[in-house]
Symmetry: C2
Subunit: 279 residues, 2 copies
Amino acid sequence: MIDKELTTRFEAYLKDLMGKNDNSVYDAMNYSLSAGGKRIRPYLAMLACRALGGKAEDVFPFATAIEMVHTYSLIHDDLPAMDNDDLRRGKPTSHKVYGEAMAILAGDALLTEAFSVIAESDLSADKKIRAAGALSKRAGAKGMVLGQALDMKGSESLDGLLLMYERKTSDLLAAALSMGAIAAGGKGDEFDTFAKYTGIAFQVMDDILDVTSSEEKLGKNINSDGKNDKITSLSFMTMEDAKNMLEDYTARAVDSLAFLGDKDKELKELAYFLMKRDY
Amino acid sequence: MIDKELTTRFEAYLKDLMGKNDNSVYDAMNYSLSAGGKRIRPYLAMLACRALGGKAEDVFPFATAIEMVHTYSLIHDDLPAMDNDDLRRGKPTSHKVYGEAMAILAGDALLTEAFSVIAESDLSADKKIRAAGALSKRAGAKGMVLGQALDMKGSESLDGLLLMYERKTSDLLAAALSMGAIAAGGKGDEFDTFAKYTGIAFQVMDDILDVTSSEEKLGKNINSDGKNDKITSLSFMTMEDAKNMLEDYTARAVDSLAFLGDKDKELKELAYFLMKRDY
């Protein structure tokens, strides 16, 4: 389902790029960046680029930037003042290994360096600044950061919760897809609907997995939502309704790819893959 | 000494730009952004732009971006896990007003939005991506964030301390001047030496003021360095040596402006002004 050859090449690119630097901040950045994430956002950028006729390699710098932003958001979300998680992807979280101050700084550095990677890449100035704009808009105070703020506040309705999911998750998927589209010469908003529904479905799937999966498969503490009295989609819906919603949103995401004609295969497969993950 | 008419216009621009947005994250961003900073970095960007023949207004978006990055760094530096300060510019720090989680997010959002402001400005794509590159390079894991990490670790020698000051302060001044130069059509590295010496001098002045100034003038707790057993330049030098060093570094900064000919006046005046501030 995932093009392993492509993701292997991306891992090598990322490792090479990050290995060129050496200081205490990079150590902490690399710890989290190489902690075995699924690289879904970079992969989305590559697929979007390919679907619009570009080459996946062209978007490697943008894909790196999006993974850096995603990783920073995980480091900061895990902090004691936020979700206070000590396990992530099966490993101790950044602040558990490096202390809280360095975890904050590692996150700050990843967010900042994302824009350096974009700026220093070989694409045209026009593509680079549009990619930087798409990333900052979706990751910032109207996007992902707002989503995290809404998450801290808690949601009192399903609509409020889904809006939070859209900001917290869909927006960064949208940035990934947008940067892929821009690298291929597209406008950048081609995949916004796909991102919206895939992101919300992804979060609802997380809610389901938190109840049904095992700690070993998930690589983090299970039932953490229940233990923290956290509001999830299952606070407002039965498990069956949640699973139906997941299917419905995935169908909407897939339908939004119609404009691609027969170029929709890879993104469609990824959407179904994300919906069926059981780890 | 400071062109009040110019800075007043910048304040109006900044207020107008930020006032267009309204949510809980923007509230916290605006609290710190409007807390009465001296706008030295934006002003440096304007003066660099003017010195190279550009118009100060052209650099307002870049000047906004640099002030956002500076403000984010203050919010995160003040956090309990970092310097644990509860007073900044005479007002309670962000985490005292909004809580730790929102302070982290407000900082993250300011850093992210800085790049949105650059991307959405009216300058050419080439100038915008070069400005974004200069800012991210100087603010990131080889620049300001590294400086903060070195600061947390502490310095065992004067050389180590001055290197930390250069990363923590000079680098962001360099970004401001670089962005001003780029807006005017320059290369961007014209003021690197000026930034280096001004930044270190600025920090040494802070060390001196922490001992000699009053809380009222400074707008933050005085002798906080001494109370925290913090290592400063005065841990390695007498007060007289520190003051001599300040004069020496200011002279080196001013000398580096020789290439400007008679266009050096405003930046020279600002360097002397910074050295003489007694608040």
